[in-house]
């Protein structure tokens, strides 16, 4: 796959971010889940640290299994999400590419990705003896409702009080407003980038997007994040104009559902390239792309914020997931879809067989479910997955170009 120029810039801002977090003397540090309302933290000068992003880094650097072993030796079962095991193990051994995370002063966890994070963060809270704030954003069995919005807003307000108490100064509303604008701007930029995926041939492969999503997850709400995606957008637009493809001779265009298999990104990248299959869209990268647009209207910033934190792909009922998957397949002229049945991530994976059937029936496109894990390489077999994928590629009709 052709690399983006901005990759070096991204490495630089991510390094700066970790360096600041690890060296700061004044700013408090909060460990936070990937779907939690980080804007409140930036508004109060708290540095957010994302154990999920860190766990993904450990796995991409092939350093996850060592720390996972440490966590398992301490009694954490293999049945637990491998992100959590990576995090526990890295905290025990200071292992991983950044030598462990800076200690948290408090924790912020939101349930819009799973309930598992409550257990994960409760465990951290006990070990580190720090307070935990949970923002419960319940699963949308029946779509967005005013009741859910009100529930979330009440918790946001309580979070403001919590932060004011913690930092011993009043919650900074102006700063919050400003942070929110930057967060929205980067979300919009990120989504514009991903939307360009509809171009044939695919200018930005999800294999690239998985790497380039680090800032939208960890730095959402900062100027660096906005600047970074402005640059990336320019680069992707250039590719579109020049008809530059992410892989040579694109024959198939597929969707990837669920987390990436972090420890196999490069091998799978090569494999997909050889097979002439571009991963054009991914539900995972889209999850930070303001999916709520058009789903809820209000002038109130809290309402919109509640709506966007609730309306997250894996927080949706299956009816909405199916419609969304079908829409992505349609809009991006995909030839099929791949669902990663991820042993670690039950909210993403349980029910996947049903989803695959329904989406195939609805779109007429072939789909496949492969068994893997985002971080635990013991739950993965190259041979099995690649054989299944090869058979799947053969079942797809190649993309029709104009």
């Amino acid at each position: 796959m052709t690399k983006f120029r901005t990759v070096s810039k991204m490495k630089e801002i991510m390094t700066n971010y970790y360096v600041e977090a690890k060296t700061t003397k004044e700013k408090p540090i909060a460990w936070i889940t990937s779907g939690a309302p980080v804007e409140f933290l930036y508004a109060m000068d708290v540095i957010p640290i994302y154990p999920e992003n860190h766990a993904a880094m450990c796995a991409s650097a092939h350093q996850a299994m060592d720390v996972i072993d440490a966590a398992e030796a301490a009694g954490y079962s293999q049945d637990i999400c491998s992100y959590a095991r990576t995090d526990f193990g890295s905290a025990m051994t200071k292992g991983g590419p950044v030598g462990g995370l800076p200690e948290p002063d408090f924790l912020l966890c939101s349930t819009n990705i799973c309930k598992t994070v409550i257990k994960w963060y409760e465990t951290i809270a006990r070990v580190k003896k720090v307070p935990l704030f949970v923002v419960d954003t319940p699963f949308l069995h029946e779509g967005l409702t005013q009741g859910l919005i009100d529930y979330s807003i009440q918790q946001f307000k309580d979070l403001e009080r919590f932060l004011a108490d913690f930092t011993k100064r009043p919650f900074d509303k102006d700063r919050y407003q400003n942070v929110l604008e930057m967060a929205n701007e980067s979300t919009d930029l990120w989504m514009s980038i991903l939307r360009l995926g509809k171009t044939i041939p695919t200018p930005i492969n999800a294999m690239d997007a998985f790497i380039h999503m680090a800032p939208i997850v960890t730095l959402r709400g900062t100027q660096e994040c906005v600047d970074y995606y402005k640059e990336l957008l320019v680069e992707v637009e250039e590719r579109v104009e020049q008809g530059e493809a992410s892989i040579p001779n694109e024959k198939y265009r597929v969707l990837w559902d669920n987390l990436p298999i972090w420890f196999r990104l490069s091998r799978l990248g090569k494999f997909f390239t050889e097979q002439q299959c571009a991963i054009t869209a991914a539900t995972y990268t889209n999850s930070w792309g303001g999916m709520v647009k058009g789903k809820w209207e209000s002038d109130d910033i809290y309402e919109m914020m509640a709506a966007s934190y609730l309306y997250n792909y894996i927080n949706l009922g299956f009816k909405e997931r199916i419609e969304y998957l079908a829409k992505l397949i349609e809009e991006n002229s995909l030839t099929g879809f791949i669902m990663h049945s991820n042993r670690s991530c039950k909210p993403y994976s349980v029910g996947m067989y049903r989803l695959q059937e329904e989406v195939s029936a609805l779109t007429g496109k072939p789909g496949i479910v492969i068994e893997a894990d985002q971080n635990d390489s013991r739950a993965y077999s190259d041979a099995q997955v690649e054989t299944r994928l090869e058979a799947f590629f053969e079942s797809m009709d190649p993309v029709v170009t104009a």
Binding site: A74, G75, Y76, S77, D79, I80, C81, A84, T111, C114, K115, T116, I118, K119, W120, E122, T123, R126, V127, L132, F133, V134, V135, D136, P138, F139, H141, E142, T145, G147, L148, D150, Y151, Q154, Q155, D158, G317, F318, K319, S341, R343, K346, P347, S349, V350, G351, M352, Y353, R354, E358, E371
Partner: protein
């Protein structure tokens, strides 16, 4: 004394069908855990609790991956085999990620109506109430449309009294077990509790009071035996209790979601239902699946072991149950700190060969006999 209860659990379908006919009420399958069944009775339904079963998995594999727990897999198996025909509708709670998605699978795969009580997991009390208020409204109207009957203040108060009575009687039984260890065989005890999943309240309450009366004058067997507290999600496969019985061990108390965590709940207050349900969910025994910063599982379990004068704790782990798996290491470490011996068994509801479990329990018993 226990035959009537044992008959119920070995003939679940026949039992439910019989009572369905005599009550003339639709059977509502209640999924794990903590759905306030008072609401179902008040709406004229017949709640039957499903906590998984021991059916070998043939059909559910096509719907649920092998890394889903046997509770979810076996329930799905039951429905796919057509063995749950008498269940007209389902009542779900949002207990864990697996069950949240299981509801979605049911909703897409089967045609039965359902209601979902979404349990608020926040430390913001005001928000909890706001959310429950909304959630309970939709649960109530969902139940009413399933049964075709309105929930009235009166029907709700009656149902609350009846269910409250069940748990009160069960608590008496738990107390008898603590006071007179060995009087009730382990298997018998859990057969009594399990029979309650399937029987209409009035019938079950009568059976329970009769049993308690019969037990009152009896004394515990002589001599000290090894005693344990057992902790886990669900107390199945029930055959495990035969192992304790064979080894002469007494389970003197438990911390099961379908045992004490439910039994400990007070009578549901219905005058202010939102407040009542909030208390119902979060007061009494803590649960790994209910986030509640004010109710610490560690202190709770230590206190339980001490007050039950148990020799140790056995953790009963249902494979792939993440909420339980997360808590285990630190909970065990705390037990160790307190000088409370502990051990664990890993099991599926569908496990038929219990040799390995027996070996572990036996080894634990030997340590405790020390």
């Amino acid at each position: 004394m226990y035959k009537a209860f044992q008959d119920v659990i070995s003939n679940v379908s026949a039992t439910v069908l019989k009572h369905e006919a005599s009550l003339g009420r639709p059977v509502i399958g209640v999924m794990p855990a903590y759905f306030p069944m008072e609401l179902i009775d008040a709406a004229g339904g017949y709640p039957v609790q499903l906590w998984g079963n021991n059916l070998p998995i043939h059909h559910a594999d096509a719907h649920l991956q092998g890394y889903c727990c046997s509770v979810a897999r076996s329930m799905m198996e039951l429905e796919l085999r057509g063995s749950a025909k008498m269940v007209k509708a389902y009542a779900f709670t949002t207990l864990c990620d697996t069950l949240v998605n299981l509801r979605e699978i049911y909703n897409r795969t089967f045609t039965k109506p359902d209601v979902v009580l979404s349990m608020p997991m926040t430390r913001t009390m005001e928000a909890r109430r706001t959310y429950l208020k909304d959630g309970l409204k939709s649960v109530a109207s969902g139940l009413e449309s399933i049964t075709g009957q309105k929930i009235t203040d009166e029907s709700l108060a009656d149902a609350a009294a009846c269910h409250g009575r069940t748990r009160e009687l069960q608590r008496e039984l738990y107390q008898i077990r603590r006071d007179k260890p060995g009087l009730i065989k382990n298997r018998d005890f859990y057969s009594v509790i399990k029979a309650g999943f399937f029987l209409p309240r009035a019938v079950y309450n009568e059976m329970l009071s009769e049993l308690i009366q019969k037990l009152a004058p009896l004394e515990a067997p002589e001599g000290k035996r090894v005693s344990v507290v057992v902790s886990g999600l669900v107390f199945d496969p029930i055959d495990v209790f035969d192992i304790f019985d064979e080894l002469g061990m007494d389970v003197v108390d438990d911390d099961f979601a379908n045992g004490w965590r439910t039994v400990s709940k007070d009578t549901l207050q219905t005058s202010n239902l939102v407040e009542g349900v909030a208390r119902y969910l979060y007061e009494a025994a803590p649960c790994c699946c209910l986030y509640n910063a004010d109710n610490d599982r560690h202190d709770y379990l230590v206190e339980k072991v001490r007050s039950a004068k148990a020799d140790g704790v056995l953790f009963w782990y249902i494979n792939f149950c993440e909420p339980d798996a997360f808590d285990a290491p630190l909970l065990k470490a705390r037990m160790k700190e307190e000088g409370i011996p502990n051990s664990s068994i890993d099991i599926d509801l569908t496990t038929t060969n219990l040799d390995a479990v027996k070996t572990r329990i036996n080894a634990f018993a030997e340590i405790l006999e020390g």
